[in-house]
Amino acid sequence: MSPETISQTNRSHRHGSNAGQPLTRRDGVLKVTGRATYAADNHPDDMLYAVPAVSRIARGRVTALDVTAAKAHAGVVEVLTPANRPPLAHDPDEKMPPFGFRVEVLQDDGVRYVGQPIALVIAETLEAATEGAALLDPQYETATARTDLSNGDRFDTATVGIGAPARTAYGDIAAGLAAATHVTEADYVTPAQYHNAMEPHAVVAEWDGDRVTLDMPNQAMALSCAAYAAYFGVPAENVLIRSPFLGGGFGSKAILNGPQILAILAARMLQRPVKLVLTRAQMYGPVGHRGHTWQKLRIGTDREGRLTALHHHALCATSSFDEFLEPAANASLPLYESPAILVEHEGLRLDTGTPGPMRAPGEASGSAALEVAMDEAAVACGMDPLEFRLANYAETEPGTGRPFSSKTLRECYSEGAKRFGWAGRPLEPRQMRDENGFLVGWGMGTAVFHCPHFPAEARATLRADGTALVETSGADMGQGAWTALAQIAAEALGLDPDQVEFHSGVSSLPDGGIAGGSGHTASAGLALNNAGEDAIAKLAALATADPASPLFGSGNIGVVPRSGRLHRLDDEGRSESYVDILARTGQTEVIGTAKAARDQEAAAHHAMFSHGAVFAEVKVDPDLGQIRATRLVGAFAAGRVINPRLVRSQYFGGMIWGASFALHEEAITDRRTGRIMNADFAEYHVPVNADVPSLDAILTEEHDPYVNPLGIKGVGEIGITGTVGAIANAVWHATGVRVRRFPIRIEDLVIGRS
């Protein structure tokens, strides 16, 4: 079933604003009843299955593939290799701006990482394609893999993340450190992590002449259409992406990857629809990951516990052939006041797939290190970690002095601390035990995330029956975007959400921007709001110019839309329903459109961030080192909240992710071969329900007049930041053992890790 048929059935009785209501997800029933159609659920007639054969070496080249054996297998239709792969219109060794990386699409026999596609087998059945891929029996010429600090190639870089500066300096760091009464210096390591969305990357590609329809989970439809169009040499409007549902994306479904491009290519080559679904193991390589980092922090403090210098250096792993460096050190820029701040990055080339943005890219791993270092500095100053952070509270953006568009972090600290019961926490570690003798520790961290805003478009159609159709090509990754976006549209149109039909998830709709950077609700929401306002303005123009309308002549005074009627602004008693206005003026519909983007003037003069404070409790078995996060309280200020239920869920999800980062997740790479030895859900640990602590997320009220006209910031990623450090600091507080490598392991607490 398509989401376009969804209507809000659980109508809530209430008065006033649509925004701010805790509506449940519009698509929730479809999902829990299994009727939501994900990409891989599509089965066009005459469809073929594609399975990639992937490299088991990290570096070298393929010297032989037994294509004959694969083709001889019953059901195998074609085997794509570098020898017969049809040409692409865009060089895969060239980046595709703004977010595209170099991709491995059989352009040569080179192998640059484990899991790289080295062939694509297309067959009548999934089983035949899988077996065909196995029969290829690749032979390699293997070069020594670069897998770690000891053998990777370090390099200087000008940019990190996607176009962020690699080095930012304010003040004199040497002087700041020299002026300090104490310098806290420590090294932190974060591992490679993989997105592991529940739904694997998938595509069902069907060509019709030079037009192609792609059923695929996608976080950035318009950009992807343009990128696919470039690869296949067709106009962007010839690419139709249908992405009604995503089973998680976390950044990995915003960027093109080799296997999907190859499947689309195979569909064109064979003139039949082709489906490709990566296996779990195949998601450890070509679809991005959070890169390994080695970070060093130096924090100078004076006698009053104020920072004199903050130096954050991050060495960030990337692939041998492209750059995505975790902008980890940039996490130290926006939070704490210091006369001298230096953040800098270096790259390390390893024989891995290229990393990419993964939920809170840079902020997550950078915040993990920064917040532990701040805890260590607080200890060095003999201060409570919260008091220490308050002593270094930045009233304006550190370095630039720009005002924040809004910053309600002080309230987050106080509300979170109060709810958690932080007061009275002993300064020294290993002071608290529970009734069963387990060590108890409390830690905290500051959460911060920037507020990007992507250009977006939308259309709102008021219909003769008084309902509306609103359209934008947004992506709902499970976060509830469609529900929140429909609420915004309904608000602008003066309708209830159940009177609003919401179309999204198809690239032919107005460009809804990117579901990424925690900016989707703000970006697509503003476009929907403005389209709704445009439709209302057109409707008002019809009414106020019509002598038969009770609103005739109100043009200068203005009207306000509410409950399907336009009301005269100065006399609410004078109103007319949308149905009557349209009927009398002979219109079947009124269409409003909008293109929205950030006000660059406001952006230039303000620093824009969401903030939060996370407090963690852990319990640790004093003998056995088993750790359990037992309680997390987060207070977050992220501007206006459209749907508190969904926002709270986003915070919970982020905080659970933070617990996973702190205690569970790690891709284990064999340092000799570069192979990931735990590329499955049995061995790559993400939290199970029993690992999820008691969660509390406080929605701290915040009004932001600058970030965008709706006052919406983002909530999708901030929950990870702060949380990792809070848990690690709680482990220290419980045990007295400072662990600076993630995830924290039992052996760190039992004997210390080698």
Binding site: K619, T669, R675, M677, A682, V688, I746
Partner: protein, 352 residues
């Protein structure tokens, strides 16, 4: 995956006859075998489905008070059998600490006994593994081996046996009944799994074609029911294999330990019975010092096989803790987090 014949015999003799052909493998729930076949670690030519064999899914109480459990009894069914859980609480706790609810509902007693190591190099066909391919080498030896064996390993193999269930079974002198081409025999579970030595490709004492048809726990083992625990350390609270685990069972007489049973999991290619430690506890009062001495004895021969020295100290500590918990007595209800050190939480009865 290789092509294979699928055979569904109607009786145990038929199954054994079918398995007489080299390259045969018995298939129970397939929670381990099918995964290994998909990645190519195991490539049987004949798969003999024994899930429909008659009478193998029964729990029978023997006249002497022991129990005989058919090889096809599901893990969940056994763990939730009220009498079984009361008589052999550490075994039930171990069962419920393993895998996930979904896997436990499918997995069988016989299959659990026969499960293979989780060593990543055994699963990775591009790696050398003597256990998978005799004589090919052991890439775990200098590889990612922080969770590998610290007891009974050899230069040829440092893998561990991953079962939780088997750990208390070994402690409690469980026996398997085996049928084979040359008739039936019994094998103590302690001798079922074998240390790697120079032949790690041989994981069990079963001869080709032999089939486990039942597991027996002796009546004597019920004497520990009041003081028996299984404890498991892991890297997430559920659905994770043990870093190390231990079963401890005690029987008291006049304030002294009359009998002690200790076995360790996750430390060797087999569940590791610590008989010298047991002997040291026999006839002495329960004390932390006695337990510490027992732990020293249990790990006396331990050696790191790689980046895993911490497991030796951790194993000592878990022996002490498991014994201490056993002294406190078997919990009246199954802990909410079976086998977890955090299972002291009262009042919650769901299984994580």
């Amino acid at each position: 995956m290789n092509r294979f014949d699928y055979i569904r015999p109607a009786s145990v003799p038929e199954a054994i006859a079918a398995a007489a052909v080299p390259g045969s493998a018995y298939l129970a729930a397939g929670t381990n075998l099918l995964d290994l076949m998909k990645v190519g670690t195991l490539r049987p030519e004949r798969v003999i489905d024994i899930t429909r064999l008659p009478d193998l899914d029964r729990i029978e109480w023997l006249p002497d008070g022991g129990v005989r459990i058919g090889a096809m009894v599901r893990n969940s069914d056994l763990a939730y059998d009220e009498r079984f859980a009361r008589m052999f609480p550490a075994v039930a706790e171990a069962l419920l600490s393993g895998a996930s609810a979904q896997l436990r509902n499918a997995a069988t007693v016989g299959g659990n006994l026969m499960q293979r190591t989780r060593c990543a190099y055994f699963h990775d066909l591009a790696s050398a593994c003597n256990r998978r391919l005799a004589g090919s080498g052991c890439d775990a030896r200098d590889g990612e081996n922080r969770l590998h064996a610290v007891l009974g390993w050899s230069e040829h193999c440092i893998a561990t046996h991953p079962s939780d269930f088997c750990v208390p079974l070994v402690a409690l002198d469980a026996v398997v009944e085996v049928e084979g081409p040359h008739g039936g025999r019994e094998i103590p579970v302690d001798l079922l799994h074998v240390l790697p030595g120079a032949t790690p490709e041989r994981a069990t004492a079963l001869a080709p074609g032999e089939l486990i048809i039942a597991l027996r726990l002796p009546a004597e083992a019920t004497g520990f029911s009041g003081n028996a625990r299984y404890l498991k350390l892991r890297e997430r609270t559920s659905y994770a294999f043990a870093v190390v685990s231990a079963a401890a069972a005690l029987e008291f007489e006049g304030g002294q330990i009359r009998k002690a049973r200790i076995a360790l999991g996750g430390v060797a290619a087999k569940p590791w019975r610590a008989r010298e430690a047991e002997a040291a506890l026999t006839g002495v009062p329960a004390s932390r010092e006695a337990f510490a001495k027992a732990a020293e004895l249990a790990l006396a021969d331990a050696l790191p096989s790689g980046d895993n020295a911490f497991k030796i100290e951790l194993a000592r500590r878990i022996v002490v803790r498991a014994l201490s918990l056993a002294v406190e007595g078997t919990p009246k209800i199954m802990p909410a987090l079976p086998a977890s050190p955090f299972s002291t939480t009262a009042g919650v009865t769901h299984v994580a």
